[in-house]
């Protein structure tokens, strides 16, 4: 027996040693190879435009820089899952990518977390930077006023409506709702006159992630007299009437069955379904959604011939028609350099290629982004590509931006919880707002909130 134990233990240790020795060889996506630039970005079946522009940029960059390689790591996930995966990757230096496709609301948060590298020095030497408009430059700023990303384009949000269904329901095909009630009454008319059609979609589920916060809830809240975050006092707002009214809007559309069935509304794929199935097939009359939708109807797997004859656009009205009459939210995505990039200049050089005039033009047209480069925005090719550009660009003067604070991303999660709990009927707007307030204080602390 005395002979056995050391022997057995020795063998165990030995086998472990062999295995552990193998660990060192495990290369990871954030490889220590200075000649390889890893790019993490999102790709889905309906979102392939970024994939195609990055592939083009990668081959151009490799051709211009012999010996350098670009490794594209496409994360196949819907937005919410994408953020999770990205956060998981960024957490560890060994897996952190060199170039990151970042949503503008994540920039401050990730910069604060030390995941992103400031690029002011590199920008100073890039002649194209002067082409970017001020809003785009703002989008990349961190809390420390350094720049952490280059904007790829921006977007606005509004109401899409199906003119054929409107005509069938006896509603005007040049619809111009002035208040929330106008929107609701149109939806009610459709429910009566066009059975089998879902009257309206406003994102409401946790699974839809930021779409619920931004295309849904915030498009309502910013049209009330309340706000989410007071820029002047730098405090978050609790208990505001606008917050509860926005939740009441959800209660109305889900309670009266004007919205999609819950199994659709709460599914992670609801965004894809609205864009690729429900609107094109005439199953949905009104959609509160983003300016990028027509991009996939113009060409690609989800091309929809004649979409511009069927779909009309209307600005989202404010709650009671108060000034300025309509509301929009703007976000947009950036390319950032990872804080753990071995060769930050090379990573930035890749971004320069990916967002030069040609590639920005390609991306902004195909993904129907509102261009942020002045030379692209005035380019005839861009202007004539997509008939909806004019409308969505016209919303820029009345648009709002999400609170640019590091904790927004966590608070956004709580907004989604509130919206979903009201949509499912498990909470009243008051209860959901109260739960949101409690969560908010838990995240930012009592000293960072103020009553609404």
């Amino acid at each position: 027996m005395q002979r056995t134990r050391p022997a057995a233990l020795g063998a165990v240790a030995l086998s472990l040693g062999i295995v552990l020795a193998g660990c060192g060889s495990g290369s990871s996506s954030g490889s220590g190879d200075t000649n390889t630039i890893t790019v993490a970005y999102q790709r889905t079946a309906q979102f392939t435009q970024l994939d195609s522009v990055l592939k083009k940029a990668a081959s151009e960059y490799e051709a211009a820089n012999p010996g350098k390689k670009v490794k594209l790591t496409a994360i196949e996930a819907e937005q919410d899952q994408y953020f999770t995966k990205l956060a998981l990757m960024n957490r560890s230096p060994s897996t952190a990518p060199d170039v990151i496709y970042e949503d503008s609301f994540q920039v401050r948060s990730d910069a604060a977390a030390g995941y992103l590298a400031p690029i002011d020095e590199q920008l100073a030497g890039w002649s194209d930077w002067s082409q970017f408009d001020d809003v785009a430059k703002q989008a990349g700023l961190g809390d420390d006023k350094k720049t952490y990303g280059v904007s790829m384009g921006t977007d606005t949000r509004a109401l899409f409506y199906n003119k054929d269904i409107f005509a069938k329901a006896g509603l005007p095909t040049d619809w111009k709702p002035k208040t929330w009630d106008d929107v609701l009454s149109a939806a009610r008319t459709i429910k009566q006159k066009a059975p089998g059609v879902t009257p309206i979609n406003v994102y409401a589920g946790k699974a839809a992630g930021e779409a619920t916060s931004m295309q849904g809830f915030e498009m309502l809240l910013y049209g009330t007299d309340s706000t989410l975050y007071d820029d002047s006092t730098q405090k978050w707002v609790t208990g505001s009437p606008g917050f509860k009214d926005s939740l009441s809007f959800y209660q109305t559309i889900f309670g009266e069955k004007l919205a999609p069935a819950l199994d659709v509304a709460l599914d992670a794929t609801v965004g894809s379904r609205v864009a690729t199935e429900m609107l094109p097939r005439g199953e949905l009359a009104i959609a509160l959604d983003g300016s990028w939708l027509p991009g996939q109807w113009i060409e690609g797997d989800n091309a929809w011939k004649g979409w511009e004859d069927t779909i009309g656009f209307a600005p989202m009205p404010t709650q009671n028609g108060q000034a300025p009459g309509s509301v929009s939210m703007s976000g947009g995505w950036l390319l950032s350099v990872g804080a753990n990039a071995k060769d930050k200049n090379a990573a930035f050089d890749f971004i320069k290629v990916a967002l030069n005039r040609d590639n920005s033009l390609k991306y902004d047209t195909e993904n129907s982004q509102i261009a942020v480069r002045k030379d692209v925005a005035s380019d005839e090719k861009y202007l004539s590509y997509n008939p909806s550009f004019e409308f969505f660009s016209s919303l820029v003067p009345t648009t709002h931006f999400r609170p640019a604070t590091p904790d927004y991303s966590q608070i956004s999660g709580n907004i989604q919880v509130a919206a979903e709990s009201v949509a499912t009927g498990s909470s009243t707007p008051d209860e959901a707002a109260k739960a949101y307030d409690e969560g908010l204080v838990g995240i930012v602390g009592q000293d960072k909130v103020q009553g609404g």
Binding site: L88, D110, A112, L266, A268, P406, S421
Partner: protein, 272 residues
């Protein structure tokens, strides 16, 4: 090896005392916050709801569903028609051998609004509910019974095989009905197997994640967010790693408590 078993547990205890986050300032420099996470946890109604859901899920799908159905199947296969038994038990075991994610998708499709179950109810003129939305917890309980019964069935089959047949035969000659024979003779003979199996299924069910994650995502709202789902969402969706870790630690303690009880129950017999 030990590091991978003990490490996470130690890490769980420590991590749950910090306010670590996935992003923002607290990702770089998490602070030690003592028992703040736990105070927040124990005062959060969502946590208690989740504890309750976990309890219902475990009792419903493991203690009642898998154990009763597993025992019934074991008995039926032993005493039912000769050829049918093996076929049915193969089907049951197949459901258990399938990769968990495949089983989850299969059941998602089965219970979906336009899924097979509602279609079948339609044949007999019933209008099935939106299972995953109206009764999410019941749906995942049923799904977990489908997925896990094989384990109990196998344990009980093996246990029943150890019961000496002459005992039941003697009882039969004395005129005892099959139910009496089962209650008076078979059950006492296999009670250890039952205790063991209940414990194992309880602990396995406590950790079920994939099935619920795929089928309902813990929703609608939080109506099917058991503790593992809650921990995952808090840590990775809301980026509150410290808080999520605290939930994980509580789950672990609940599991440990069960295991200790289990070891205590079996101890006298192990010592024999």
């Amino acid at each position: 090896m030990g590091i991978f078993l003990v490490g996470p547990i130690g890490y769980a205890l420590y991590g749950s005392l910090t306010n670590a986050a996935l992003s923002g300032y607290r990702a770089v420099a998490p602070e030690f916050v003592g028992f703040d996470n736990y105070t927040q946890l124990f005062t959060s109604s969502q946590f208690w709801e989740s504890v309750w859901l976990t309890l219902v899920f475990v009792v419903g799908s493991a203690l009642i569903g898998q154990n009763v159905l597993g025992m019934a199947l074991a008995l039926l296969v032993r005493n039912g028609p000769k050829r049918l038994g093996p076929v049915v038990s193969s089907l049951v075991v197949t459901a258990w051998v399938l990769p968990e994610i495949v089983a989850a998708f299969t059941l998602y499709a089965f219970f979906a609004t336009d899924g097979t179950l509602n279609e079948m109810l339609g044949w007999v003129g019933l209008d099935g509910p939106t299972w995953l939305i109206t009764v999410p917890l019941l749906t995942v309980v049923l799904a977990n019974v489908w997925r896990g019964t094989a384990f109990s069935m196998m344990v009980y089959s093996a246990a029943l095989a150890e019961v000496p047949p002459d005992l039941t035969e003697a009882a039969e000659i004395d005129g005892a009905g099959w139910w009496q024979r089962f209650i008076r003779i078979t059950l006492p003979m296999v009670r250890r197997a039952i205790a063991t199996n209940m414990m194992l299924t309880t602990l396995q069910t406590l950790g079920v994640f994939t099935l619920i994650w795929v089928m309902t995502g813990g929703g609608p709202g939080t109506q099917s967010s058991t503790l593992p789902i809650l921990a995952f969402q808090q840590a990775f969706k809301f980026a509150q790693v410290g808080y999520g870790t605290a939930i994980a630690t509580v789950t672990l303690l609940v599991g440990a408590l069960f295991a200790v009880v289990y070891v205590k129950v079996l101890k006298p017999e192990v010592d024999s």
